[in-house]
Structure formats: C-alpha cells, structure tokens
Amino acid sequence: MDCGRLRTLVRRFCVGEENWVDSRTIYVGHKEPPPGAEAYIPQRYPDNRIVSSKYTFWNFIPKNLFEQFRRIANFYFLIIFLVQLIIDTPTSPVTSGLPLFFVITVTAIKQGYEDWLRHKADSAMNQCPVHFIQHGKLVRKQSRKLRVGDIVMVKEDETFPCDLIFLSSNRADGTCHVTTASLDGESSHKTHYAVQDTKGFHTEEDVDGLHATIECEQPQPDLYKFIGRINVYNDQSDPVVRPLGSENLLLRGATLKNTERIFGVAIYTGMETKMALNYQSKSQKRSAVEKSMNVFLVVYLCILISKALVNTVLKYVWQSQPFRDEPWYNQKTEAERQRNLILRAFTDFLAFMVLFNYIIPVSMYVTVEMQKFLGSYFLTWDEDMFDEETGEGPLVNTSDLNEELGQVEYIFTDKTGTLTENNMEFKECCIEGHVYVPHVICNGQVLPNSSGIDMIDSSPGACSREREELFFRALCLCHTVQVKDDDQVDGPGKSPDSGKSCVYISSSPDEVALVEGVQRLGFTYLRLKDNCMEILNRDNDIERFELLDVLSFDSVRRRMSVIVKSATGEIYLFCKGADSSIFPRVIEGKVDQIRSRVERNAVEGLRTLCVAYKRLVPEEYEGACQLLQAAKVALQDREKKLAEAYEQIEKDLILLGATAVEDRLQEKAADTIEALQKAGIKVWVLTGDKMETAAATCYACKLFRRGTQLLELTTKKIEEQSLHDVLFELSKTVLRCSGSLTRDSFSGLSTDMHDYGLIIDGAALSLIMKPREDGSSSGNYRELFLEICRNCSAVLCCRMAPLQKAQIVKLIKFSKEHPITLAIGDGANDVSMILEAHVGIGVIGKEGRQAARNSDYAIPKFKHLKKMLLVHGHFYYIRIAELVQYFFYKNVCFIFPQFLYQFFCGFSQQTLYDTAYLTLYNISFTSLPILLYSLMEQHVSVDVLRRDPTLYRDIAKNALLRWRVFVYWTFLGVFDALVFFFGAYFMFENTTVTSNGQMFGNWTFGTLVFTVMVFTVTLKLALDTHYWTWINHFVIWGSLLFYVVFSLLWGGIIWPFLSYQRMYYVFIHMLSSGPAWLGIVLLITVSLLPDVLKKVLCRQLWPTATERTQARNQCLSVEQPTVFMLSQTASGLSF
C-alpha cells in the first residue's frame, strides 16, 4: 500500500498530472458522497466515443504521407525524386516520381478507404441509442454522450455501451448471462453477478435512489481481471463496502442474453474500455524472406553507390584533359564553368545515383505486397481446408508470413483441442477403488441408462454406497457449468422432469463431460436457482444445496472447490482437480488404489481428475468465509491473497475417487504428424497435461513410435540425481548415437535407426532455464539441453504453464541456428506461444477464439496444417523466392547496360533508354508476368507435394535465397546485360544496318538493347514457369505484345506535350532493318543459353528431390511399373 502511494506521489510529482492515480472513484449517478466520507480527487474521464480511425479529414494527407515515408524504401525513392527535382539529372523527375506517386496514392487510397470504413463504424457505434436513468426516468441518448457514473439500462440482446458495474437485473437472483463472442470469441454464456446490496433495485426509481461510490483500478487491458469495491451509503449506518471483481463487470462489446434487462453504472468509457484497450496492433512479425530481401537490398544499395562512385571518379580522371571536358563543339554554360569542383563532383555523384537508382525498384515492394495479399486468398479459398462440421475455413490474419509457412523447422503444438478433439467423453470413474463405467458397451449391446453402471472389480459394500453417492453429488455440485434455458417461455419455472434434456454450457469441456457422465449414472444437475443448486438423484427426488462459495479454477492451482450447504444443514467442501494437486492435500481415503487407477488411465491417454471432499463445521466455515472475504475485498494483490486463502481452505481432504475422461485424437492427427516429421520438421508437444496422458497421446499420434527410446527429464528423475548429472548422462546417450548417425546418414539411409524422444516437465524446464547464481557457467544447461533436443526426433513438454510454452519457443527461436518456429494451439493458454513463434497458428476450436484471434493464421483442424505447410507454404516460398530474385535480376539487366554506356559517352550520365522506357520497364513491361508467376506457379502439383512430404526439405533453410543463388542470379543479370550491350555495340560499331545506307543514332541503339532485354527477361521467366495456364500465356505473350504495340505507338506520333521527339519512328526504323531482327534473335538466344544449360546440367547431374519428382511425373505414363516399384522400395526402407 505504501509502495503504491509512493508511486502515486512520484508520478504526480513527475508528470504533474492530477488525474494520474492508481485508482479511480466513481460517484454512481453523479451523486456526491455524504460529507463524512473520504475526499477524493476529482478526475476527468473521456466521453464514450470510440475512435478507431487513425485520421481525420484534415490531417489525412500530412499524417498519411508521414506514415508512408517512414518506410525506408519509400523514403529512399522520395530522396531520389527530390534529387531529380533539384539538380540537373539525366532522367526527368517523372521517371521516379510517377511510380512513387502511384505507389503512394494507391496506398493512401487503400488506407483512406479503410479509415473511412472505420469512421463509419465508429459513428454508427457512437450514435446508437442508449438508455440512461436521469432523475428517476429513462432517457434515450446517443452512446457517445455517456459519461462515467451514468446509470445505464441495457435490454436483452443489446451490447453493453461501455464497461459497467452490474447493479441489478430483472432476475431475482441478480444474475445475467452474457456472451463475449465479439471480445474473445467465446460464444458460451457466462454468468455475471449483480452487487449484493443493489440487486434488489428493479425499477428506475429504485436505482436512481442509490447512493454509492465505486473505487476501482485505472483501466487496464486484461479482459478477465478487475478489482474494485463499492461503498453503498445508507442513511442510517456506515457505508457498506463490497468487493467487486470481474464477475460484477460487464464489458463493452459483450451482449446481454437470456435476461430481460439490467442496470449498470458506467465506470470505463470510450477509449478507456477494456475492449478499446485491447485494440493495440500486434507486434509486427517479419518473415525470413523479407529479412533476406532487405539484406539483398543493402547489397544492391552498396552496388549502386559503388557504381556511382566509380563512374564519378572515372569521369574526373577522363575529364582531366580539357579537350575532353569541354571540346569546342560542346561548351558549358558560364554558370556550369564557375561551379565549385567539389560541388560539381557531388552533383555528378547524385546524378549517377539517379541514373542507376532503378536497380532498387519501387515496384518490387508493390509487387511483393500484392503477391502476399492476393496470394493469401488461395489459402482461404482452399476447399480442402474447409471444415464441414464447424462451417469454418482457414483465416488469414496477416499475409506477411505466407512464405514463412514453407520454412518451418520446429512445430510447437498444444495437445488438448489441437492434437485431440477436445470433445470429452466421460469414460469411467473410480470410487474407492471400484470402477464404474457409464453407458458401457457390453457384449455388443448398449446397456440401458438406468442400469448403466457396471462394476468391474466388485460390487460395493453397503458402507461404500454412501461414499458412492457422495462422489456423484460431488461431481454434480463441484463445477461452474450452466444450464442453458431452452426456451424463453418458462425459463425459471421449468418443470424438473424436463431436466433430462438440459444442455450444459461451460468454458471447460471436461466439466460438461463430467456432469453429463454423472447424469448417466443417475444424478442430474438441474440448475442453479436462488443460489441453490438443484440435483435430481436416482430416486428422482430433487436435492437442494445452497451454494455458499466457489473457489474457482485456475491453472496454477489446477483444482477448484465449492462449499455447499445441504438441506440438512451440513456444510461440505467438494474439491476436484489434477491428481498432483489433490493427493498432497488428502489425509484420508484409499489413496493407493485410486492413484494406481489414475496412473493406468493416464497411460491410456485419458484425462483424469480426482475428487475429494471435507465436511466443514460451522466454525470452520466462518473462518474460511472470513478469509475469502478479506481476500476478495483487497484492492491490491488480490490474486495472491485469494490464492493464499484457497490454499488454507483446501486442505485435509478426504479422497473420494477419480474420474477419467477421454479426449479423442483429432482426425488424421497421426498422419499429419508423420508427414510433418518426414518433411524434416521437428514436432514438439507442449501441454499442461500430465506426463502419462501426454505421452499416451504422443504414441497415439505417432510422435513417438514403438522404437523410440524415451529420455526423461522430469522432476522425479531430478530428485534422484542432480540436474547436472541427468543432463550430462542424457547428452552422452544422445551424442553417442549421433556420432554413429553421421556415418549412417552419409550412406543416405534415413535416421530412423536411432530415434530418441525427450520428455520434460515444467518444473525441470524452469530449473534449466533458471539463471544460476554463479555467473560463470550460467546458460550452460541451456546449451546442453538444446544439444539434447536437437538430437531428439520428438520432444514432449508436459505440465507447462502458458508462459513456459512461450519460453520454450523463445529458447529454440534464439538458439544457434535460429530455426523458424511455428506454434499451434487453440486455447487462451496458447496465445503467448502463438505470439512468440515466427508463425502462430490458431485452431478454431472449442475453447473460444482467443487463439485464432491472436494468431497469424487460423485453421479449423490440426490436419489442415499438413496442406498449409507442405502445399501452400511450399508454393508461397518458391513463388516469393523467385519473385525476389527475378526482380533483382531484371533490374541488373536493366541498369548494367546503362552503366556500361557511361564508358562510351564520356561519363556524362547519358541515358541509354528513352524516359518512357525507363519509367514503364518496371511498371508495365515486366511487371505482370512475374506477379502472375508469383501467384500461380506450381513447380510440382498439389497432389505430389501432399503425397511426398520430403520435398519440403528441398526448400528448408531459405534454400532459394541463399547467397549462392543470389550471386548466381546477379551474375546471370550481369552476363545478360553484357550480352545486350556489347551485342548491340558490335552491331552498331562503325557500320550501317539498314538496306538504304542510312544511319541509326543513339536512341535506336538504346531501343535495340531495351527490346532484347524486355524479351530476354520475359522469356527467362517463361523458362522458369512450370505451370502454364491460359492466364500465364495471356500475360506473358500479352505483355510482350504490349511492349511492341506501345513502342510502335510511342514512336509513331509527334507527341505535342513532349519537348523532345527523340523516339519518333526509332522503333519502326529499327524493325525495318534485317540485321536488327537477326541481332535480336541472336542476343536473346545467347542470353538465355547459359541459364538453360545450367538448369539442364544441374537437373541431370545433381537433381534435387523436387526435380526427381518432376521427372518421375513426366515419364509416369511411360514407366509406370518401374516407378511403382521404386515407391514401394522407398516406403519399405523408411520404416
């Protein structure tokens, strides 16, 4: 408390802002508290306007421009453009201004349109009517006029206009149901509770008469956390203080359900609502391709600068003789002559920069963006990834990472809901060592419900009959399941007999499975009414238990409890939780029998829970109650205090039994994992589940095989030996085999011979991760651990807290090789690792949509990961790799002749090509074919990629953007440029190429080079295209045709708006000359020859797996029997 106050003081002192305090005080209904109360600092709150738009009408242009030019590439082009404007440069500013203008405008229009949509949505939000209570009357106002402290009425199916403290509802028990579908995607109904003292206020007048203040924390984005308290002032006595928690808070964006109306008081409005605070943009992830693209850019920037430097220096060397600098026929102006030498040299340098600046093209960024944006549609369109059951298809939340899907080396997957269906089924329960199986299939026939209890071990004795019923009651009571009221006609007054058709809703599917399972065993949970839980027992009698307290579940404690009071007045505490968290707190019961059963079930892959109880005498209950109350009212460290209170209450339990719930594997999960492993991807399972269950799942989904040797790094083992010893021992085992492995892998055999699987649990992990005191060898364990992991084919991490999942991902992400990681999960507990990994994938599952919302891509089922990575990822990667390389290549081809020409024009920055060609080369002559290639290319067909996962290894480690490949493309570009330039040079040198003896000038020379170039780079792409649809034909031949038509037109007219007519008839005259045709054909052939040769030779001598597959598919029809035999051999050897 002191600390907090100090902080407040410091903050106030430093910031000088009065309203920056840790908590805020709200006068409900704007009524001042009675004079005796503590005085508060009045604070100012924003109104209830939601502003999601970035721009206003006035600041759009400057702000948007500023945003856009913050991108380094745009800024570079702006500088080039400005240089062109300021100094006398060889190319007109139009050549770089036009593309830049185009890019900027398109982006601005896109962003402007998006912002306009946001404005529209905002104003729709801000103007929708809200019911206020003012002076005891209901008033309608626009939502944006809402102020903190206003009392609001919300009707059924309306969304809450701001964050409200729930005062009362029309229900007598002061509850309401809410869905938060638009907040976190969970469509299940959640119950919220009104403040105890105000839940009786049912009319406007009542509510208006309320005199209270609310103290609560300043707004913070966590949707599930809220701490506050309410002081209700009565005339006669001291104010009543009540704690407020997130169960009293109704969030903006949530919708009221199954409740006629509620009253609430606004506490956070407008941009301070929790929903608005959650609108921060996610941190930007960048793909490996983008990173290497940036590296290449830097290389090209260096090339550009060095070219300009070389030319500038040579220019001044060459000019040192005055007759060259200023021959009689080519005099300078007086102003030029008088310019300072240094300034002149600098201007020359800039002019060369401008001349060569096209080597880094604006259009590359546009094309890459378009490719990613448009390409991502293929993912969402994919029919194979559409799930019929849920009606969901894949979602693309960011298209920036498409190609990263083809680069994944590590997959971290959640177990529940991701590998498994999260479709829980109650399998059995074990009470005092007796096993009960509901609804068992016995000898092929389903036993009827009533007699569905099958005693496997032995029939229970009379005394245990009581225990058994207690157990079922415990399961019926100890949960947070809600009963969905099927109809609105008689929700509360429903007859108990119809209870059988109850639909249970819970955030945890386990609970639903348990309650449903118990229903089959004869005990039906009916509903929670007036704080009384009603259950229907085997004799069809309704038993009522007053619900005194719920000690809710959390992932640290891994258990939950309820305190109930039976009709006879006995107070019970029922506790249910993971075995590890229950057993230590048990003092009585058949622990050993139950433990062995639990362990057996866990090995079979079932999820087990233990149930325990304790009877509380009223004094004990009073004590517990006080503990809880004290913790709940606390404004600071409430979580911690609550945890402590729970700890104290949940002890000395009597063990009743255990339950087992089956979570079936997702369809084709094993197949998917197998394929991914064949693709060279290491799959790690990270789960909160216990080791045995998780390991069983791993076996089931073939992550571990029968031959896999399991290495355990668990708490149990560390207890026996020191961590140090265990780690060294494991690494010795692993390294010994990897030593022999290298010999094996040399002979080309697969690595299945020594298959290691590692199992590690959360506690052991945190020991490894913990930095040790003696700084010298810290991090040593990590290295060792990583070394072990690297040599294991599969790793299972169990008992992981959400943050530990992220920690593991981070550990691998920043290990030596910097592998590309992918995290996939479906629940809120996976969000941290989804955000941490290079690629985060959410499974649109049962545990809400939080994972899907925070992910980069979301898929309906785990099995879709296979196609997503092996097919889409592969395609995206090869497409964008070619796109990047090709762009640099074609611009080397474009600019290098320009550079060479400087040696023949006295380094005067004379351009080789006409301005129109300079401008349009990247924009229109060569832009569409590569864009289309990067959208459509399929070097092998979809089916082949899916059938043969090993092809994925061909592109691993950014294979197509390695330095070797980059250098090859660059040299190819240089070679082609040399061919274009010197080919044209030797043709033009000192002779005529027309049949009428007339001569061609420099523009014809440039046009010839340009024509050869446009054809060469387009045909080069055509040679690289392996998938010729009619669209490819259309675009490739179409863009060549466009070039010819454009050139004919451009040179065919005296353009009145141009100050020069240098291209007049140049192209047509060129085409009228025979040698020009011959030259064009020759030069194109020469330029393409080496690339074709390289391709053919590489394919013939060192074929990659992909190329082999391609060839195999080609001759499939011819050599079908052979291929069939081959594939059989292959599959035979891989096992």
Binding site: A121, Q284, F323, P327, T333, F378, E383, G391, D400, Q998
Partner: protein
C-alpha cells in the same frame, strides 16, 4: 492489416449470427482457379527436351551465320548504289550535355520556339540578343567539310570528271518530312527565319544551306543527318549517294579517283580522326562481319552442347535411376 481492431467487427459481431446460414456462404467456391487446379501445361527443362532445341538452334544458326558472313564479305565490290560516308572518331555526340542541346519544337517549325528556343540549348541559345536557329550544340557543331569525288579517266583523258553525288535520300524519310519542318509562312525562307541568327560556328545562315528549297533550312538533309546523334564516339554518317546510272557499267568503275576535301572541320583539338568511306549496301546493311561470326559461333556452340548433353544424358540416365532406388 496488422491492426487488430476493426469497429466493423464489433457492429457485425454484436448479435451472434445463426451458424447455419453463415456456414453455407463461407464455404469456398469449388472453381478451378480458386482451388489452384486450372488446367495447365507443365513443361520441364530436361536434357531430353532441351537436346533437340540445341541441335535445332545449331542447324538454323550456322547456315544463317554463313549466309550473313558471305553477304557481308561480298559488299566490297562496287556494284549497285554506292554510299559515301564520313566518319569521325573520338567525337562524343552522345555526351549528355550535347545530346539534349537541341530544341525539337524549333526544328519542327514551331514559330514561338523559333524565336524563343528551349533552355536546353544553352550556351548556344542566343547570340547578340537574337535567338539562334537552329539552336544548341549539335546544330552549332555541324560537320561542314565538303567532299567531292573525281574520276580520272584512263590515261588518255587527264581531266577528272566529277562523280555525281546525290544529296537527297540520306536522311530518314520521316525525319525529313515530319519531324523537321521549316517555320511556316509564305515568303522566302529567309523571311521565315527573320529575327533569328545563325549558329556561332556556321558560315552561312540556315536558310542558305542549299540552293534547292526542298533541301534548305531545317529540312536540309545534311543537317538532319547530323542532328541524329550517334550512339558511340566513333561513328559514321551518310554523306552522299552515288546512284548507278545504268546496268551495264559499274557505278564506280575501276580507275583512279581524286577526293577533294574542303577542310573546315577541326578535329585535332579533341584528338579526333576523319574518314571517308565508300560502301555498297546489301539487304543487311554495310559490311559487318560480327553478326555472321556470332551466328556461326553460337550455332556451333549450341550444336556442341547438344552433343555434350547427349553424352551426359546417355551416361547418367542409368545412374540417376539407380540413385532413385537408394533413397
């Protein structure tokens, strides 16, 4: 795209939509394009497919090359029309300052540009407060040597007979008739150029370049030829045509000739050289062995590569198959 929030979602997402209706519309269309299953031709560059191409290239290129080479080498003989060129070396007509130093509007007969030439023409834009026509460095440095060719008849008659050198037809037709135009007006050429002055280095003004009105002023062909800037510092330009008079005699019969050069044009100052070239022209222009040799070379290389590939293909076919098996 990275923005997490879209107010639209909230408005739409308010009431939970019925899953049944939404599911149908969400289902992607089963079109070949969207499923990336458009029918396509899937060629692969393998030795097998490329081999014939190499041979075909070889088979086509070598004959073409030989044809070109022979044509090019035959050009020496002085038959048919003979073309007379002058050549300059070390003359940077392609210098940027030089290339842009012209005003195409002025040359196209635009009256306003005639009297107010473009700034690009500096420092050859105005002289003594009068606009220069034609302005700019290119025009100013026009080649002004005169070349005359005489034939000394065999022994008996020592008086040289002048060869008829045709001045017209040396410039592009489009340049002469469209791109270059004299300023409009009805009077004499001199009147039409009134108010302008001649380029500094010129002896005569532009309107007295030639007696023939059809070859005078901006449409003088020598001028037009000069104005088409050469691509390289060593260049030649067409000077005159020597037309064949009749089929029986060669255009330039064997004998002694006199070349009379009126030397006006200084080239020493920039280390330049002048040349005069007489040449006939084939369908593929003047003599240039490059194209022929290149075709022959590329054809042979391609043929050779074809053979090499054939060998490789034959040798590695089996081993590549065995490699498959060891996977």
């Amino acid at each position: 795209m990275a923005m997490n929030y879209n107010a639209k979602d909230e408005v739409d997402g308010g009431p939970p939509c019925a899953p049944g209706g939404a599911a149908k519309s969400r289902r992607p269309d089963n079109t070949a394009f969207k499923q990336q299953r458009l029918p396509a031709w899937q060629p692969i560059l393998t030795a097998g497919t490329v081999l014939p191409t190499f041979f075909i290239i070889g088979l086509i290129f070598i004959p073409i090359g030989i044809g070109i080479f022979v044509t090019s080498n035959n050009i020496r003989e002085i038959e048919g029309n003979v073309f007379m060129y002058y050549g300059l070396s070390n003359f940077y007509q392609n210098h940027r300052r030089y290339v842009k130093s012209r005003d195409d509007s002025q040359l196209n007969g635009d009256s306003s540009a005639l009297l107010n030439p473009s700034k690009e023409c500096e420092p050859y834009r105005r002289n003594e407060d009068k606009p220069i026509a034609p302005c700019g460095a290119i025009a100013n440095s026009m080649f002004n040597d005169t070349l005359e060719l005489y034939l000394i008849a065999n022994g008996s008659d020592p008086t040289p007979t002048p060869i008829n050198l045709k001045k017209k037809g040396i410039a592009w037709w489009t340049d002469k008739n469209v791109k270059f135009r004299n300023p409009p007006g009805s009077g004499s050429l001199e009147e039409r150029f009134k108010g302008t002055t001649k380029p500094v280095n010129w002896v005569k003004p532009v309107y007295s370049l030639d007696a023939d009105d059809d070859n005078n002023g901006f449409i003088n062909e020598d001028f037009i030829v000069w104005m088409r800037t050469a691509a390289l510092p060593t260049f030649r330009k067409l000077y005159r045509l020597i037309e064949r008079t009749d089929d029986l005699h060669p255009t330039l019969p064997a004998g002694q000739y006199i070349l009379n050069i009126t030397y006006n044009y200084p080239v020493h100052s920039f280390d330049g050289r002048k040349r005069m070239i007489l040449s006939t022209i084939s369908w593929m222009g003047g003599k240039n062995p490059f194209l022929g040799i290149a075709y022959i070379t590329i054809g042979s290389i391609s043929f050779l590569l074809g053979v090499v590939l054939l060998v490789i293909n034959h040798k590695y076919r089996n081993s590549s198959n065995t490699a498959d098996i060891t996977i």
